[in-house]
Amino acid sequence: MIEIILLFSSVLFIFALKLFGRPSTAHRANTFAILAMGLAVFSAFNFDFSKYDSVFYITIFVSGLLGVVISKRVQMTQMPELVGLFNGFGGGASGAIAYVELSKSTLPLSDYFVAIFSMAIGMFTFSGSVVAVLKLRGKLNANYSTIATIFTAFLPPLLLLPGIWDSLFLERWGISILTLEYFILLSLIGGIVRVAVIGGADMPVVIAFLNSLSGIAAMSAGFIVNSIILIIAGALVGASGIILTLLMCSAMNRTILQVLKGGFGSTKVNNEYEKDPISTSPEDVAIQLSYAESVVIVPGYGMAVAQAQAAVKELTNTLKDKDIDVKFAIHPVAGRMPGHMNVLLAEVDIDYDDMYTLEEINREFSSIDVVIVLGANDVVNPLARTDETSPIYGMPILDVDLAKQVIIVKRSMSPGYAGIANPLFINDNSKMLFADAKEGLEKIVKSFELV
């Protein structure tokens, strides 16, 4: 009976993953996944709920409540942090399970290595995720690559140590608790160091990668506790995390190893501009827009930081009222998480059909009257097409420079994540509106009333 429930639950997990693949079925996907999870959890009890004491149930209840509260409170712009944090939790849980199993002396030999693997991956995921979250929040900016190099160099002897230790002091074959704890420490430090060297804007890739690791940790925990559903769900998450990571990397034209090695954007390149940009005012922008027939808005990281979604919606409404065609051009790695811009725009009810992917919109730019680049930078940098020495060379970009007029809304001339100058800013058909994305847009909307 239990086995049939588990079979059913596995099938549901797979269909959930499949349904996540289409916008029209994605919300059903979540329901499927919840159902699958519910069945799996239910069957784990094996119809014997009395084996568990009240502390157990209270823990589940309280943490479930906590989960709901956190998830309801968080703002959509903080999504990446939240996913990162939860990831760490999942990894930590798997690591803890593996530790408990390892400290039992009854574990069969073949499971030892799987368990140590699961423990290490889980703990690595945990500490790595915490660092990733801190980086995303901007709480950790320094470059830790020297520490990382030293740590990596010392890792092999550090890993050998417990073997020597155990063979000296341990009588039965196995692993001492002390060694286990030492391994945990190493994994935790490993997670911290590895993530610390990676630049803040690469955190989305790191989070997808850690997500994959947390799946792998769960999968290997499944091998220890003999749970097929754990193995299947873990494998699904592990594999989907990997492919997501690879997709993201290829959208930035970098390999996963380059990303994980870290240090991106730290090499200094020539950031001088040959001439001054033309700057403009909200009033002028409003006038310009009112003469346009087609407008494309390119949201970027700055839009998310400034929380300018509502203002974007307001401007869109204003423009549509004047029968101006408004489209959104979404670069695959714009913002802080893949697909993040789509979510932020959907949050303020911007029509799904108005959001265009890179391939779709790039064909159209030459016939667009005005493009508004809103806190985006690297994803519209034409050097990716022209300058072979540029670190972003080869990354597919939005060809906004082909449009008739480009207005860039950002606070200064400072570079984006890749740390390089953007010649788009000094193009003849570009104008800079120096402002916070939200305030800038609000002023433009206000100016419309005066036009």
Binding site: F56, A217, G222, A235, L244, T357
Partner: protein
């Protein structure tokens, strides 16, 4: 026992393959909900916590560790699904 182990390995491979295949055709728009959804699924390790809790025996220390795992996994699952639901809600009202 050996057969079961090999069948399990096979299942692991098949499931990984499916995970890989399914995600490689997902459109970019859905990357955020997908990440968040699969993140919630990775809390499946809750099952392991449930399975081993009755077996930890006397040790208060191990009990606390299992409870910690239980708590972390539960937050991961419940929070993860709830936030995925919120994200998808935003897409849904667009239809």
């Amino acid at each position: 026992m050996e057969t079961i182990f090999l069948l399990t390995l096979l299942i692991t491979f098949l499931a990984s393959f499916i995970g890989y295949e399914l995600i490689s055709k997902i459109p970019q728009t859905l990357h955020t909900p997908l990440m968040s959804g699969s993140n919630a699924i990775s809390g499946i390790t809750l099952i392991a916590a449930i399975l081993i809790y009755p077996e930890v025996g006397e040790s208060q220390f191990l009990k606390i560790i299992v409870l910690t795992a239980l708590a972390l996994a539960t937050i991961n699952i419940v929070g993860g699904f709830s936030v995925t639901g919120r994200i998808l809600e935003m897409f849904k009202k667009n239809d």
